[in-house]
Amino acid sequence: MGAVSARSANPRHRRPARYAVAIAIAVTLVLVLVASSILNYVYLDTVAGRASLYGLLAVALIALATFIGVRASSRDPAERAKHFIRAGVLLGLAALLWLLLIDVFVFTGAAGPTVAAICALVCVPTTAFGLFTLRAIDRNEKEPWRLVLVAAAWGAVVATSLVIWAESLWQAIAIRTLVPGPGLDVSTAFSAGILEELAKGSAVVLLFLVMRNEFDDVVDGIIYGAAVGLGFNFMESVSYMTNLYAIFAPEGVGSYAAGFQWYARQVLGLFFGHATYTAFVGAGIGIARQLPDVRKKVIAIAGGFIVAIAAHFSWDAWLTLFPIEKTAIGILEIHLRTLIMTGPFTAAVLALLFLGLQIESRALAEHFRREAAGASGAILPEEVAILMSPWQRFRQRMRALRRGGLRAYIRLGRLQSAQIDLALERWHRERQELDTPLEAEDELRRRVLALRQDYLRAISSG
């Protein structure tokens, strides 16, 4: 028998039913994308439609990269790196292709390729800061970068492609049938809230179905959801910045308009916006992950989507209730408006996050202690206090760095991650939330012991 990866050890030949659900969702999304692109090209704006149609290649690359990336995690560790590199290259190509298409077909004609490139570049550091912050908050068990980046890429590329046709169609019908003013504003807000949250949320649902081993609880759901939101926010920021630059440039204030959009969306709205909305979808799915009966699972997932849609809707519909003066006070008003309108939702999702972190910390502490009390040697009694504190873990890695160099630092990091995975596995097994057999837990223990030997060798050779 070949080597089995630790967290996903599963000797059963049959895949769980959730994989079938994931495939059904993925196929539906691809069909919707194909249909929407063709419809968009034929009936709506041909420029956006062309981007959408030609963008199918980028979407296909993303889908293929995701598939390879996801499969890689359950392969032989020796083969894994090769598959991750393939997935990474495909993902990079897809992102570049998509950005190129957006630049060429949508923005270049209006703002020019230089402006489009500058707008995209200035959004990279802020979005990266957002993703780093998300991982830092996830202090007990950090989600793998590959999945966080896949989530952000989905938000930026796939979710935006999914909504472009539907929102355009909704808007075209609304403009031709409704009385302009508050009624039309509310209709547009419903369109944005429902369609964008469904498009973004589908990524979190797919991660939940396919990567159950990396989707432990409400904390993970919030992290993945917020990452999707940050990706969507990136692409939307680039879109608004270039569009407004093109509109206002002939009046000599194009840079000001683009700069204001950057500040509003990439600084002020980085977390107070799409990241908050989609974090609710993730929270609902994360809570559902740990609920025992199917009815409550469905209610939790639906509840997450409803809160996300309402949060998004309220911003878009009632933004005009807080008009901004064109004076110095206006700068203060912009901040207050964001704080008043989105602040409560962000506070609410933070409350779920901190409660989730508290639950996770307690569970990990309990299972570190129980594992240490056993005779497996995977977790030693003196390691319990260190593993319970992210700061202590970091200090221990720094000591390893001084004693054994970078190799020892990396090996210890892997050992600590595997020990945390083992405690999480025990927690989920105790709560009967796993579809993997007990052998997976034993495999994890063997992996921890092997990693400990690797670490000790690195220390002694350093």
Binding site: V179, P250, I287
Partner: protein, 162 residues
């Protein structure tokens, strides 16, 4: 007797349910607002006669040339409405909206008799700008009831080119 430990995941679940309840209230409030501004059963079948959208000469308050659906941003333009075709006992207005949804020109509200001197409704260049902003502009003729517009009885969409 020892009480069973409370599963804190249930606390999370209940907290989410409270959020969802508040969210449903928000969405219902949105639907109520929509129903207020788009009241059902207001369709009368009335059609306003929009003569066309033409280039506008502000110095003489007159229109020039032929009806068009697109204008360069440097060209001012106006819609022309024939109010005489509408029932005299109702209240109407006409408005121009720019691509951002701002009102950039209007006439009324008033009865057809009151609006007779407002047949030409120009788009006004926003204060501080030299020309119209590019984008799709919407011109609507609306029927009023109870002090709010309840029905669009004429509509034109015009593109201001970049």
């Amino acid at each position: 007797m020892v009480a069973a430990p409370v599963d804190q995941v249930r606390t999370l679940y209940r907290t989410l349910l409270v959020y969802a309840a508040v969210s449903i209230f928000i969405l219902v409030a949105g639907l109520a607002e929509f129903a207020y501004f788009e009241p059902p059963g207001q369709h009368t079948g009335l059609k306003a006669h929009i003569v066309g959208v033409f280039q506008y000469d502000p110095d003489h308050n007159a229109v020039i040339g032929s009806d068009s659906n697109a204008f360069p941003r440097t060209v001012q333009f106006a819609a022309v409405v024939d109010w005489s075709t509408l029932p005299p006992n109702m209240v109407y207005d006409a408005r121009w909206y720019d691509g951002f949804g701002n009102v950039v020109g209007s006439a009324g509200p008033g009865t057809p008799a009151q609006l007779e001197n407002h047949k030409i409704i120009p788009v006004m260049v926003p204060p501080g700008f030299h020309h119209n902003l590019p984008g799709h502009y919407i011109f609507v003729v609306e029927r009023y009831e109870g002090g709010v517009p309840v029905e669009v009885i004429g509509r034109r969409v015009v593109l201001v080119e970049r």
